[in-house]
Symmetry: C2
Subunit: 220 residues, 2 copies
């Protein structure tokens, strides 16, 4: 009997948003464990320091096939590989950043993205004082060049780190260039055509969650 369980990101299964957001958290945790030399780990030891129930984690994994064996610990390396496949992180995924202000530059220099399989290919701005300056070994290019750059390089992911008033225009330009996924730091609602994913990023979520835990006297 053929196995119809979805096995990777090509799967058409509708996976809940919460699961999609937890998979990277699991992967980050596993990489931290690997860095400490941990080779095997039980689902409980893996899940609980993240304040996630082991059953919830196994349930998340289950969307992608049954890759735990009852009573056996996970192999850290195997699970990293498996989650990376599920999330399609195996090949280096190119992306660009629109906006080379502090936030855009901080994103460009954030070391983790390369470890996680992303490859920054371009950074764009309109400020003539910074055009041509180098960020993360890339020249800051003029925003006008962005759509053609995106098409010719076949890039499907773009981060928007421009002021709110400029964000929709940049979004439209990215879409014109063939972007299918927009990582929106601009704190404004963006309209994108059907088939283009907009992922809003609010840094304040982490700070608010921390504040809540501190004030509620919770202990992680």
């Amino acid at each position: 009997m053929p196995d119809k369980t979805p096995r990777n990101c090509d799967a058409l299964a509708k996976v809940p948003e919460a699961t999609i957001l937890r998979l990277p958290v699991y992967l980050n945790r596993l990489k931290a464990l690997r860095a400490r030399g941990v080779v095997q780990i039980s689902s409980r030891e893996l899940a609980e320091p993240m304040n996630i129930k082991a059953g919830q984690m196994r349930h998340d994994f289950h969307y992608f096939g049954n890759f735990s064996r009852p009573g056996r610990p996970y192999e850290v390396e195997v699970l990293i590989k498996r989650l990376s496949e599920i999330m399609c992180l195996g090949n280096s995924t190119p992306y660009v950043i629109a906006g080379a202000g502090l936030l855009g530059q901080a994103i460009a220099n954030y070391s983790r993205f390369e470890d996680d399989g992303f490859n920054l290919r371009g950074i764009f701005d309109i400020n003539p004082r910074i055009l041509g300056m180098t960020v993360h070994d890339l020249p800051i290019r003029h925003m006008e060049e962005m759509p053609a750059f995106l098409s010719s390089e076949g890039i499907h992911i773009g981060a928007i780190a421009v002021p709110p008033s400029a964000a929709q225009d940049i979004c439209d330009q990215m879409v014109a260039g063939g972007v299918r996924g927009i990582w929106n730091f601009a704190l404004v609602d963006l309209s994108a055509p059907e088939g283009v994913v907009v992922q809003d990023e609010f840094l304040s979520v982490g700070l608010m969650a921390l504040n809540y835990k501190v004030k509620a006297g919770m202990r992680e």
Copy 2:
């Protein structure tokens, strides 16, 4: 009969991590709706654009009391106020940032935190070339001043945006200064004493989630 339902962040109820992380998302969404002039909204209209089920959202709210009325829409303004109370965002909460590199400065200038009730009070570094420079109207102070500054100002929240190798030392200094909550951007595991909350921030979660959705052909 007294109402024993926990009503705000002083509640001792153990609220799941996932709920704590969704509350700020709801609040952000509601503020965006308010900015567009929306006054009332059904739970479904509120939840679905976030890719969250209305039942899940109501369940999250339920940890803090029963503040929906069957068949009646939410009042946007009332719900913002209620969620802000639950998350203890009513009074301006002071915090500091350790590390005034690109990421530290980007955090300092992130406009949203003030809207959400946080007040940056200090930013610290060790790089002599930037000490005394102004970020978000604050002078960059030497890291050595941080513990005394934290105690004298009564600050309980600190963000760590320093290189991984320095992060544990900074964490210890924050704890010595009375910090109860550490927002950790340093991509390294931190040890903190019982009673101190460490919230690890991985920007890559958003990028990985976006990548997954694009490649899985999902549409938000």
